[in-house]
């Protein structure tokens, strides 16, 4: 049996490798996507004070520490049975909205952008952020840097630091913001809205204006009909920071909505012994394997699934884009994975609008940003939407508030099963008998992965543009049949 190994997968946060096995006919027999790392947060958080979770779990991911910080903070509030004051909620959500702007910007311009702006078959040397800049101009790079800088300035003002915010404590925040900071945040927020609109227009011109791309997006290769989940507010509109998690089936029917404390009624994690990561699935539907469909418990949690699981966006400009999105793609729900890139930009716009909405609230500069918990700590769950998916933190503590047990279901983990399926389907479709497995072919396999937002990319430069790649093809006895190389010797 021939075998193709991609190790490590690149342009994402975290580690992973893909093993593709070909049968004697030269078609894909099976594909395995393995996660080779485990650090053990659920174990080593035990024995630590609950208030440290907001700081320790940020180190699960330094790209979205804000998400872990908020989920842990909300869980700690729940552990203490304390309701934080309204100004604290506003400040936390404001930080979170600014974070979404930086994070979605980073992904679109350095990851999704190149595959679309340059095209999946563009020469490797151009299919990165540099190519994007050459095609659309240096001005874009400046805007991207500015968007990241603005967002991180807000994160630092409210959260204390640019990476690994530290100000959320049980009962609220350790500090508020001044009127001067509020004015600065407002100016940056207004600019962020313009930047989001610019990004959507760019997507419209370059991607939606190109029939080949539209066909790619609408095509079957990158499509999986699975359930969608995402957090919504009381009006069933997308909310990143607070609300309940809505679950809809592949046809768009809402199966239900769960509050944080109810997550174990809905989500379970399947185990395979060839990887360190588990595969969440919908408990009420059941694990039926890596398959699509209404009867399969596989679900995805991404910007697209959030849009599918909600009834709309809570801000006007984003809502208009939401309507246009579904009108263009033939109605709700949408299952084409490449459309996640578009949904991500709609969320970018919502985040910017929400940023302005929150910072203009009269209570945003209030000094009532914390309350002292009085109840005995016991147990609590905190859920937020990380950019990459629904994030759940669950802690149990003793009467001193020292963690005795922890359960974490992290953003991208939600998507482990659908990503595995997407990779396999792309491999099945592109790697066939008689096809030379070229770099372009393997890139199309990676595009299946990248759509889910593998978390990262260099905001300014994905540098050399030459993707060094080596593919070794072996026969059933392990003898090397062919070695394909590019940009490496």
């Amino acid at each position: 049996m021939q075998r193709i190994t991609i190790d490590p997968i690149t342009r994402l946060e975290g580690h992973g490798k893909i093993e593709i096995f070909l049968n004697d006919e030269g078609n894909v027999a099976n594909t395995y996507f393995q996660i080779p790392e485990l650090r053990g947060f659920e174990r080593f958080c035990v024995g630590r004070p609950i208030e440290e979770m907001a700081v320790i779990t940020g180190r699960i991911c330094g790209v979205c520490p804000e998400a872990h910080h908020m989920a842990a903070a909300k869980a700690a509030d729940a552990v203490y049975h304390v309701e934080i004051p309204r100004p604290a909620k506003l400040l936390r959500e404001l930080l979170y909205s600014a974070f979404y702007v930086t994070d979605h910007t980073t992904h679109f311009y350095a990851l999704g952008g190149p595959d679309f702006v340059m095209g999946p078959d563009a020469p490797v040397a151009e299919r990165n952020i540099l190519g994007v800049i050459h095609k659309v101009g240096m001005e874009i790079a400046g805007k991207v840097l500015q968007a990241r800088k603005a967002g991180h300035t807000v994160i630092e003002m409210i959260g204390g630091r640019k990476v690994h915010p530290c100000t959320s404590i049980p009962g609220g925040l350790s500090k508020g913001i001044t009127k001067e900071q509020r004015d600065e945040i407002l100016a940056m927020g207004k600019w962020a809205i313009e930047f989001a609109q610019f990004s959507l227009k760019l997507f419209g011109d370059i991607v939606l204006g190109n029939k080949a791309y539209v066909d790619l997006i609408l095509g079957d290769i990158y499509t999986h009909r699975t359930h969608s989940i995402g957090m919504v507010d009381d009006s069933h509109k997308v909310n990143f920071y607070d609300g309940k998690v809505s679950v809809v089936d592949p046809e768009g029917k809402r199966l239900g909505k769960y509050a944080p404390s109810e997550y174990t009624d809905w989500i379970a994690e399947h185990v395979e012994p060839w990887t360190y990561l588990k595969f969440p699935y919908l408990k009420k539907v059941g694990w039926k394997g890596f398959v699509d469909g209404k009867d399969s418990g596989v679900y995805f949690a991404t910007p697209l699934s959030r849009l599918n699981a909600a009834d709309g966006m809570a801000t006007p400009l984003a809502q208009a884009e939401y309507d246009k999105f579904y009108a263009t793609l033939g109605g709700k729900p949408v299952h084409q994975r490449l459309a996640i890139h578009w949904a991500r930009l709609i969320e970018l716009l919502y985040a910017a609008e929400r940023w302005v909405e929150l910072v203009t609230d009269p209570e945003i500069t209030s000094d009532n940003f914390r309350t002292i918990p009085t109840a005995k700590p016991t147990e609590g769950v905190g859920i937020v939407e990380a950019p990459r998916g629904t994030l759940t933190h669950h802690y149990w503590t003793d009467e001193r508030g020292i963690v005795t047990k922890a359960n974490l279901i992290v953003g991208t983990t939600n998507n482990y099963a659908p990503i595995t399926m997407s990779i396999k389907k792309a491999a099945d479709s592109f790697i066939k008998r008689g096809v030379v497995v070229s770099e372009g072919i393997l890139n199309r396999v990676e595009m299946a992965f990248r759509a889910y937002d593998p978390c990262f990319g260099c905001a300014t430069h994905s540098l050399p543009g030459q993707m060094p790649l080596e593919v070794t093809v072996r026969d059933a006895r392990g003898n090397v049949v062919e070695v394909l190389k590019q940009f490496c010797d």
């Binding site: 099976n30 630091r161 690994h164 500090k175 185990v271 990887t275 359960n407 490496c488």
Partner: protein, 328 residues
Amino acid sequence: MSKPKFAMYWAAACGGCEIAVLNTNEKILDVDANFDVVFWPVAMDAKYKDVEAMADQSILLTLFNGAIRNDENEHIAHLLRKKSQILVAFGACATQGGIPGLANLSSTPSMVDTAFTTLSTDNPDDLRPQTKYTIPEGEITIPTLYPAVKSLDQVVKVDYYMPGCPPESHQIAAVIDLVVQVLQGKAQLPPTGAVIGAGNSSVCEECTRTRNEKKIAKFTRIQDFKPDPDVCLLEQGILCCGAATRSGCGAVCPKAAVPCVGCYGATDDSPDHGARLLNAVASVIDSRDPVEVEKILDGIPDPAGMFYRFGMPGSLLRASKAAWEDKG
């Protein structure tokens, strides 16, 4: 004339160091202008095989962040050491183990057991990940987890240490400036083994709160009272690590009204960060009666976790007995 080569790699890491590098904003263009980036998995597509194919010492500068948790992390550490002239332990995980090092307070089997038996885990056959697994198509592998997490210098020789979780962007920018100046022949690199991008005092030096004599009769958790914003946190009974933690961050956390968590690691000439922290905290306890002292110490519910939050692997004891015995 080709540009010198640059690489950045993450082992058992979180990506925060990468983001901190990007948060230098325009400074990153100086990296691009002066270097060819040849390996940076987060940002571009070079694979392990490409690094293996490079000539030894052909990479001028490699920034290595993340701790050594498994054999793949160690393998790449050796590989990059071989291929690099200058290897920097970048960030708390590489310099002293970091947050993943907290796993050293328990064993690897207990860590794996915990992850595979959580409340939401569906594991009726009580499976655990196998480092070698046979599937119908062949055999696939995943790395072997070590009994304890290690810092980078516990597996390879390190040329420079850049502490912080992550190193603050203004410090990274300063180091980029220095490196560019060195490339242009306008400056010299510090002696090997040095700590770069940080100060050589403690966080207290950068903290703006006023400090008086400390006499602590009670330690209080941050959620239990509202501290005076202008007075030293430790003085008010909040467990702040600043007194024994290296300066360089600008004391951002105490300025944000939360205690320093010690992410910049030990100060100069301190072989064990936690030991010095323990000394400092114990010394300010205001009691002579051992029974009363014990009661005050109940206000520090997790000494090992607090003192070694970022530095367990880099400490003198390195890991708990549970880790070394591989159980508990």
